[in-house]
Subunit: 303 residues, 2 copies
Amino acid sequence: MGRVLVAGLGGFIGRNVPRFLLDRGFEVCGIGRSERPADLDAKVDWVRIDLFDHAAAAAQVKALRASHCLDLAWHVEHGKFWRAPGNLACAGAAINLLQAFAESGGKRFVGAGTCAEYDWSYGYLSENVTPRRPHTPFGRLKNALFEATMAHAETVGISAAWGRIFFLYGPRETETRLVPHVITSLLGGRSAKTSHGEQIRDFLHVEDVAGALAALTASEVGGAVNIASGRPVAVKAIIGEIGRQLGRMDLLELGAIPTQPGEPPLLVGDVRRLGDELGFRPRWTLEDGLAATIESYRTVQWG
Amino acid sequence: MGRVLVAGLGGFIGRNVPRFLLDRGFEVCGIGRSERPADLDAKVDWVRIDLFDHAAAAAQVKALRASHCLDLAWHVEHGKFWRAPGNLACAGAAINLLQAFAESGGKRFVGAGTCAEYDWSYGYLSENVTPRRPHTPFGRLKNALFEATMAHAETVGISAAWGRIFFLYGPRETETRLVPHVITSLLGGRSAKTSHGEQIRDFLHVEDVAGALAALTASEVGGAVNIASGRPVAVKAIIGEIGRQLGRMDLLELGAIPTQPGEPPLLVGDVRRLGDELGFRPRWTLEDGLAATIESYRTVQWG
């Protein structure tokens, strides 16, 4: 398949990506400013590159002469990314990476977008139908980067795609997120206070997100592709399933926390591009995915 | 008013800007990678900064501690900017400048946008009504930069505006552009081959463009503001006026060149924000503006 540079291998999604790229026959090279991640597959190369150091990063990226690039890097403090000043620097680093990659003869670039690029008032979010009108600085910067990426790809004649990632869950997610919060609360015997949970969302297991991004990288599909399940599920159903699996329904306090003002009742992705054009099917059911997620917190945190 | 950094002072618009900023009481500091422009007003400071050298530029910009920034820099080869690979690097440099300016305590940032950010099929282009669906990489990158600028300004709490520049003309424009092409052809006694000229456009004299951008910089008006005349004029009327003023109607060959496929019949800017919110009125009529433009080519090229 060629050599793929992957930025952001240390993240929640990134650390699940290498196996899927290796399975597809890629030579995988992770880049990032930290030391080589301890649990990184031995078959994956690692080159320390600080993407915020633009000139040095450009020279290093060019020297790697990769055919593909999957950019998952976005270094913003957990829980604050919707409105963090650092989002602009991340967009700048991404532009610099794209430019260097294209200049070095790269053939295909895949960026990580977000369902927050869409106007959420439409609910059902479809790549070529739903207007993009992001309501947060994070969504606006990702949308800007999508535009810049596609414009540059067209200009210099490289292939480019943009995976719009929806809601996700899975082992080892940051514990302030909803699913780990409920799991760790119940594992610890504490009550889990949540909103009413009537919101309908589109959740995909992080390994399926990673698999879909690998499939997108290996394909020639162009433009934006939703990385989603296409299956509407009420947040309270996820919370309930965790309670059921742990036998602690008594600890759930649905409705104890108010919903955010303006929170949309339904957000579901159109997955026809993902399914029909990429041929991707998720491997995890929600029940099995939540069971594996619970297991990861049991062993890591409480084992 | 404070100290305003101006990037792009050497350009067609940029070299007309300092006087208007000085008139409004700004301390003006030009930044750019070349030597100080020979004709730059002695009251304007000049600091050599290569905006493409991101780390060095950021440090230099921060040291200047300006209150305002007007970014007119966009270094792409003349006549090729609609689809030049360098557009991405310009967007990257602009993001780097915005970030450094905001980090140094800057209060207000004004960027230079383009009417090419809009979906031209709407014809009458209004800031808060007309969808943005740019059809060229240049328009898409400017639109991306608009989004990134507004998102970051909201995040870090600075004031920001975006002047969407329409069609312009005036003294010392690059000679490959329509107006100078017709003028220099007629001054040289050569025929001027043009399209049929039925297209209706919105032309503003470059000094009025510069004056409007200075007014926008000095104001607190936020978001996108069209920098336009609001007066529809057929391209053939401009060509005819040049022929009339030079007494060489005989050299005009309207229709000798085909129009571009898909060229829209009408593009006019809504100037209510410019007029009502900024209180800006153009100083030049088209007749006087063309006379001054003709004079500049007579003295520079043929005097």
